[in-house]
Amino acid sequence: MYLLLFCQQFLNGLQFGVMLFLMASGLTLIFGIMDLINLAHGSLFMVGAYLCATVFQQTGSFMLGLLVALPGTALVGIVVEIFTLRTLYARDHLDQVLATFGLILFFNELTKIIWGPRALFLDVPEALSGTIEIIPGAPYPTFRLAIIIVGIIVAIFLYFLITRTRLGMLIRASATNREIVGALGVNVKLLYTLIFGLGALLAGLAGAMAGPLFAVEVGMGEDILILTFVVIVIGGIGSIRGALVGAILVGLIDTLGRAFLPALFKLFLDPATADGVGASLDSMAIYILMALVLAWKPRGLLPAHE
């Protein structure tokens, strides 16, 4: 009984990890290569969610929603990059934090104006609304499984992109030494815009898939953004492998923690205290994990360099 529950929660943890990976991979590249801390990455997640949700609700087709949300979010990201972020590359981190904080405020308010303050609730798309018994006796929602599969595909895609293509080589070179790449005649501006666009696309994908699972509302971006930061800190800045490891770790610990910590505490403490302590600790579990990782490795588990 508990084993089946554990398996389901384990898969949920993987699925959550996938969403975090989509966010973290883009963000960690942007940190590592452009040395830009971008708080508005969560806004891209939100934009993806809203675009997909709107199209899905209007047309009934989730696929169409994705087809609009992905390039749409990438486009929004690129526009923001060209008009606001370019000036920030040369600035110090405080300036970047403040300016991108300003972007969040602006986007959140704009979203409220366009879509209204109330949350959108979506149904899981028809085609994926069933369950699959990948573990006998434990039916698992197809939609969540689809997300995990998308995550695996993206991870493989990124692997090939980074290690086998010319763009990937430029990305790796820039992560190690920005200036030289420019000196070699590469259009660095274009490269940065492409990288940012890729990050935005991935964030939009994560947001679009999150629609049927969470409420689509203003502020959803920031909640996942902070978790993404935790993933990157644990995994190491600039490293996609780190982002993958961090994301899976955080996804699993957060999900399993919320599912089992209260029950675990009930074994040792009386029910009332267990509930209280469990409720506090389960949301704090990943931050405690982050603290532990930092105590051991201040630069994260798999930093890109040094």
């Binding site: 904080f101 405020l105 704090m284 105590a295």
Partner: protein
Amino acid sequence: MNRFQPTLKACILMAALVFLIGLPPVASALEATFYIGLFSRILIYALAAVSLDLILGYGGMVSFGHAAFFGAGAYVVGIFAFHGIEGSAVISWPFVIMGTDNALISWAVAAAASAGLAFVIGAISLRTSGVYFIMITLAFAQMMYFFFTSLELYGGDDGLSLFTRNRLGHLDLSNDAAFYYTCLGLLIGFLLFTRRLVNSRFGMVIRGCKENERRMGALGFPTYRYKLICFVIAGAGAGLAGALMANQTEFVSPSLLHWTVSGDILVMVVLGGVGTIVGPVFGAIVLLLLEEFISRYTEHWMLFLGPILIFVVLFARRGLYGSFVERIGNNG
């Protein structure tokens, strides 16, 4: 720097002081007592902002989690008040501490608790720097937000009402003017303390660390230790501000620890002028007045704040006060 400028600075400060001291009687006379409450709130945020400037402007530590200390201080006061009304103990082990509405006790504990929290968070966060530090402080503040949300006994998400303000000796803080002057007094006290601090030996080490930490280490300073203590002092300041906030609104909720509050305080510091001691006060005044007045015309004032903030960062980086008066940094 020409000789005119120190006089300009003195004039601006005198004018601000006169304005702030004269506000309550003038507001009462004009039947606009609403402003006393508004400015109490401004003074409280100013205190939090000045404490952040200590680590940001002088220590070079970009913390995006200052709301954690602000909110923790507020909650201490709320929790003490809660138990005070019930007549129960806040904690029973290792020794009994009873609830109370005595400001001298709960405000002191608020500052101490925030200082303790800052010690723990700082001890871990200061092992990192740069982008990591910003993200980690943000994450820990978020953790504290979730922590307070999970405290069902103290209202959880809905928050906790204090039904009356604290007693401060013989002062009746439910009198808005008395409370206002208490906030003003504490703010001025903290400003004077900060001014002495940044020019003391300790302050020099902190400023040196911001300038060139490698060099400071090579001279023999254990920089981590100094930065941590600075972080703790700033946390205590924010905790005191939080205690005042709990009294101002007679209500505490986890929203005080929300990351946007950290952002707001940071904006106040930059708007006023990083590393100027007094600048953040002006930043708080401007930001909160802007919010007050723009939101009378539209509920979407954030739509304007965002671009304003971006504009300030790109073009008016030294802030309002910082642009008028040479940054105190090395000459004050």
